[in-house]
């Protein structure tokens, strides 16, 4: 106590005149990210997976589409790390190149729902009334259907392939972002800083974009990491059902489908693409968990 007293006295005399602590200025996301274990773990897992998919040509000498009917259904060996499938295609290559397809589509597929959902959520939350009713009724309609039922039906209607997946996921996926952002805006717009911005003469678009959005976007970003997982599962499911990217483009879903008929003899055919999905999912979940910790305002 005695040792602290002079310090306290100095502070109570002129609390405002003390120099700014330099560290506090930099105490942002950039200097704190490594403190969240789950964020680091997520980054490492995803980094390894994405790195391996990106460097696929360096990690495997085989093409993911080249059939070799003289070497079908081989067990793992030094040459074929995970063996070959019923057409003699190297499974390890398929896994790496399939990851390229699935991850690319999954990450790209969250962009449009994110933008559309956030925009509509902002408008509904800020303007309320008719805008809110309109947007939320659309949300209700989409939510009334189970996610997979609607995505599968839409892809089936639009036609399989990458474009169909993007459209279907956008139509179904935006509602979650709209709901999250609307809810956040409803709370945030009651805050004094919004009233202060209005009393400073700012118009609604500026208040939404410059003042509200940065305060509410965090939740949408955190959800996006969970949404990528959902999208990967959807893409793999579609591939499994034969509604995904058309062959011969490699895809984890179709690998699982093809491999399951040999599950008793060649278990590795279906197991490793399945494991890839699980590990990717865990990596993204950890990343989202860490992000929500780090982005939470103090």
């Amino acid at each position: 106590m005695i040792a602290v007293a002079p310090d306290n006295a100095a502070q109570s005399l002129s609390p405002d005149l003390l120099p700014l602590p330099v560290a506090s200025v930099k105490d942002g996301f950039r200097t704190r990210w490594y403190r969240s274990r789950s964020f680091v773990a997520g980054i490492v897992i995803l980094g390894v997976i994405i790195g391996m998919c990106t460097l696929a040509p360096l990690l495997t000498p085989f093409s993911p589409t080249q059939q070799d009917l003289t070497h079908v259904l081989q067990p793992p060996s030094a040459q074929h790390l995970l063996g070959t499938d019923q057409l003699g295609i190297d499974v390890w290559s398929q896994l790496l190149y399939g990851g390229r397809t699935d991850l690319r589509i999954a990450f790209l597929a969250v962009i449009l729902p994110f933008i559309i959902g956030t925009t509509l959520g902002c408008l509904a939350g800020y303007y309320g009334r008719a805008v809110d009713v309109g947007v939320m009724r659309m949300v209700d309609i989409v939510v009334a259907f189970p996610f997979y039922v609607l995505v599968i039906a839409l892809v089936f209607a639009i036609g399989p392939g990458e474009k169909g997946i993007y459209i279907a996921i956008t139509i179904v996926g935006w509602v979650s972002y709209a709901r999250i952002v609307r809810g956040e805006i409803l709370v945030a717009k009651q805050q004094d800083y919004v009233l202060a911005a209005r009393s400073a003469g700012f118009g609604a678009p500026r208040i939404i974009v410059r003042h509200l959005l940065p305060n509410v976007i965090t939740q949408a970003i955190v959800f996006a990491t969970a949404d990528v997982v959902l999208d990967i599962l959807a893409i793999v499911t579609l591939g499994y059902l034969g509604l995904g990217v058309p062959p011969p483009i490699p895809d984890w879903g179709r690998m699982i489908f093809n491999g399951q008929q040999f599950l008793t003899t060649q278990w590795q055919l279906a197991t490793f693409p399945g494991l890839a999905v699980v590990v990717t999912g865990i990596g993204l979940a950890l990343l989202g968990d860490g992000l929500s910790d780090l982005l939470r305002p103090e």
Binding site: D16, R198, A200, N215
Partner: protein, 334 residues
């Protein structure tokens, strides 16, 4: 002095589930150019709602009637866009809690510069320089560096200074203050009041200062209006109203301030509680708590009546207050 703002018969009705609530009930007052008017009253008596009417920022489920004449123009008759263009530029506002009234994710200086850019159309670099200037003028040391600070890195007093800088950045004629010193400790309060007084003088500002702190009003304001249950019950110069209150509520308020000179066992509180605005008592709203209540207080209207030079009271038995003060002055030394 030229009249800057005149509020006439301001009524704000809020629809609630249990009926229509009159948050402001026929409030009228005026502020001259360069004058500071204090608006005092208990929590929930309609002070803040009165402020927001002037800016046109009342909740959507509320309806306003009456007139708010600013430089002769009725602001309530203006459409949303015309009103928005006056905010910040002609009339601005300072809030009670600068921690919540500043955007936590924007640098303090940027928030000032933003107002300048938007309302005065100045370029980014110029706006930044003006913002730093303003920060210096409101007594923020090391303004260049604090321009880049986030609100949570500043102390309460510094944050409130930033709010003041924002409020005066576009040279408004009128600044509405919603208890800007309530959340601050006494030494900082004093500094903020001094800054406000200086700015008022330098910019020839009019100030409408809402508070429940009578001492602050006595220090900063020339005139004071006392609100009780959504109505103004007494208005006049600070000197008149505080030394010779003519409404029992004002007297009760002044008597309830604890004083060093009077050693007493219990504090002088006004008995009872303010009425609920969903069902205010008809007639004089203060009569259930009034020590001088008489039969004729229980019916009729009680408009503000002039009882002296620039001194109006709604009490029809205001002479009872005069009697009460004789022998027991409100202000020490009277």
């Amino acid at each position: 002095m030229a009249e800057l703002l005149r509020v006439e018969d301001d009524v704000v009705e809020i629809r609630t589930r249990r009926g229509v609530l009159r948050a402001v009930d026929g409030v009228s007052f005026s502020i001259a150019a360069g004058e500071a008017l204090g608006l005092v009253g208990e929590s929930g008596c309609g002070k803040t709602t009165t402020l927001r009417t002037i800016l046109g920022l009342i909740p959507r489920h509320a309806t306003v009637s009456g007139r708010v004449l600013f430089e002769g123009e009725d602001l309530l008759a203006k459409n949303g866009d015309a009103m928005r263009r006056r905010r910040g530029k002609a009339i601005s506002m300072i809030f009670q809690e600068p921690m919540t009234a500043l955007n936590q994710l924007m640098r303090a200086g940027q928030q000032i510069a933003e107002a300048i850019e938007i309302n005065l159309g100045h370029g980014g670099r110029e706006a930044r320089r003006e913002a730093v200037d303003l920060m210096r003028r409101v007594g923020i040391p090391d303004a260049e560096r604090r321009y880049r600070a986030y609100p949570h890195e500043l102390s309460g007093g510094m944050r409130q200074r930033v709010m003041i800088a924002m409020a005066i950045s576009c040279h408004p004629r009128l600044v509405l203050c919603d208890e800007p010193t309530t959340a601050l400790d006494v030494t900082v309060q004093e500094q903020i009041l001094n800054i406000l007084a200086t700015m008022q003088r330098e910019e020839d500002l009019s100030i409408l200062y809402v508070t429940h702190d009578l001492a602050v009003v006595a220090e900063l304001c020339e005139r004071v209006a006392v609100m009780y249950a959504a109505q103004i019950v007494e208005i006049g110069t600070v000197d008149e109203v505080f030394r010779r209150p003519r409404h029992p509520y004002t007297l009760g308020l002044l008597r309830s301030i604890p004083r060093f000179e009077r050693v007493q066992e219990t504090l002088n509180a006004i008995p009872g509680a303010p009425p609920h605005l969903l069902a205010p008592p008809p007639c004089c709203r203060f009569h259930p708590r009034c020590p001088y209540v008489e039969d004729d207080c229980r019916h009729g209207d009680f408009p503000l009546l002039p009882i002296g030079d620039d001194h109006d009271s709604a009490c029809i038995h205001s002479e009872r207050c005069v009697e009460a003060i004789v022998g027991d002055p409100v202000m020490p030394g009277d």
